[in-house]
């Protein structure tokens, strides 16, 4: 259960130890490069960067395959749309649908862009614990005038990490409820509507109870939205400066290419 979609894999690599802010900014810059990449040379270069990063943090490649897998259907649709609906030189046709050379090219690049976006995002979530991501976001948000909206950057970060935290919890209760209902003779295929109700109703009421309990636990441990500190060191070190230099180099390289 530890390799849920986009989950964190504890480790001690350079990428793991980078400041979360570096990684978040880096991800934004890389996304920009990816969206800007159009030639296969660009794509190849991005793939190379990704491979080097994965190798350097010694993560199993399977983890990333699993991150992409849930989206395969979406990618297939995306690819086929481009393939069939792009005007250009016809390569092959099937009744009124025709596949064009341009469509093939565009379909491949667009799909690859999304795959890479997802892979890089998975790389960050795999090497950064969710709470570090949220505390990184918290620090990046801090200069924003959030208090005029009546909320602090700590509240934002806490909300984010709680919602990340509730996903697996939700998933667990869903699985156990489904098993409980099936073992009481519920046939999901025969009575889908009844099945949905018999799972969703207790799921919602159970989750509300859970949320209340977590709120109590937070309150009794003195949660406050101002004046919190963090156990995670947030300091740009040599590694971060080197990474920033590399980002700049990467962007220059890609724009020149």
């Amino acid at each position: 259960m530890n390799d849920l979609f986009m989950s964190f894999v504890p480790g001690d690599s350079v990428l793991h130890r980078l400041d979360p802010r570096t990684k978040i900014i880096g991800l934004m810059l890389v996304s920009f490069c990816i969206l800007d990449a159009s030639s296969f040379a660009d794509m190849f270069f991005i793939a190379l960067v990704f491979t080097v990063l994965v190798l350097s943090c010694r993560l199993p490649l399977g983890h990333f395959v699993r991150s992409v897998r849930p989206m395969l259907f979406f990618f297939a649709i995306l690819f086929l749309m481009q393939l069939f609906f792009t005007e250009g030189r016809e390569v092959w046709h099937f009744s009124s649908l025709s596949v064009t050379y341009e469509g093939l090219l565009l379909g491949t690049t667009i799909t690859l862009r999304f795959v890479f976006l997802l892979l890089f995002a998975a790389l960050i979530t795999a090497t950064t614990s969710p709470s570090r991501i949220t505390s990184g976001i918290e620090r990046l948000l801090r200069p924003l005038p959030l208090r005029y909206v009546g909320i602090t950057s700590h509240d934002m970060a806490m909300m984010m990490s709680l919602s990340i935290y509730f996903v697996p919890m939700f998933y667990d209760s869903f699985t156990s409820l489904r098993e409980a209902q099936i073992s009481r003779g519920l046939d999901i295929r025969k009575e889908p509507v009844k099945a949905i109700f018999s799972i969703v109703v207790p799921l919602v009421s159970g989750s509300v109870r859970r949320v209340e309990e977590v709120a109590l636990a937070m309150e009794s441990r003195c949660y406050q939205s101002t004046g919190r500190s963090s156990m995670h060191e947030m300091k740009f070190t040599g590694k971060d400066h080197v990474s920033f230099a590399m980002f700049v180099f990467l962007i220059l390289f890609l724009t020149v290419l």
Binding site: M1, N2, F8, P10, S129, P130, S131, S161, I164, Y165, P168, M169, D172, R210, E213, V214, L216, A217, M218, E219, S220, R221, C222, Y223, Q224, G227, R228, S229, S230, M231, H232, E233
Partner: protein, 273 residues
Amino acid sequence: MIHIKDISYRYPDNTLAIDSLSLNINKGEFVAIAGKNGCGKSTLLRHMNGLLLPCQGSVVVNGMDTSDPSSLMDIRRTAGMVFQDPGSQFIGMTVEEDVAFGPENLGLSQREINERVDLSLQNVGMEGYRYHTPRSLSGGQKQKVALASVLAMKPDIILFDEVTSMLDPCSRKDILSLIENLHENGTTVVYVTHHLEELVHADRLVVMENGRIVHDGHPREILSRNDPEQFGSDLPPVIELARRLADSGLIPADPSSFPLSRAELREVLCRSK
């Protein structure tokens, strides 16, 4: 330490959960609270660190009144609480982060936070699980982490709400011996339970019924007589046996020597031979 003076509490749906109840808990005491389901144990406990405020009466913890909003933080730091369900009191994504949550709220420095996390995890013997996710822990391990998270706030008082009720007998013993250790080192313990065999360590037993206190005294005094119906649980076999032996005159009927555990019963039997 905790002075509860004539409090009543009504839930928003109008259930009267606490009915003009008074209780004083002294420094260093190990007070157990027992009673049937729904008699108001959890509600009472939640008053002791200001999670609930009494509709009437007052609760004073270490000289601070819970109705004063400015001292709530200090009260909660003084009186930590461990809850019943091991699954739903985790706040961090890893053990380390969960334990750090309290100290972070106190605004401590990073070094201090890390020291406290190390120390509290060592105290409960979970230092090897620092980077584990809560989902990968057993119920007993989760409760140990929950205890470590409270210890990281360095509380003087710890409130336990049926913390062993979802655990197997083995983890239950583990947790109990941790609590007993804390008590020996001077922590005031308030311990809500349905398991009367866990009362061996308690200095004092408070039995509740319908939001009131019906018995308050040493567990031996209370368990050696009285209808077990009130305790919210069957008598443990040892106590049942000890009662019958006392009734038939095989052991002294004196409540101050009434045995609460197998070891104690053996001793009493040897002595009375």
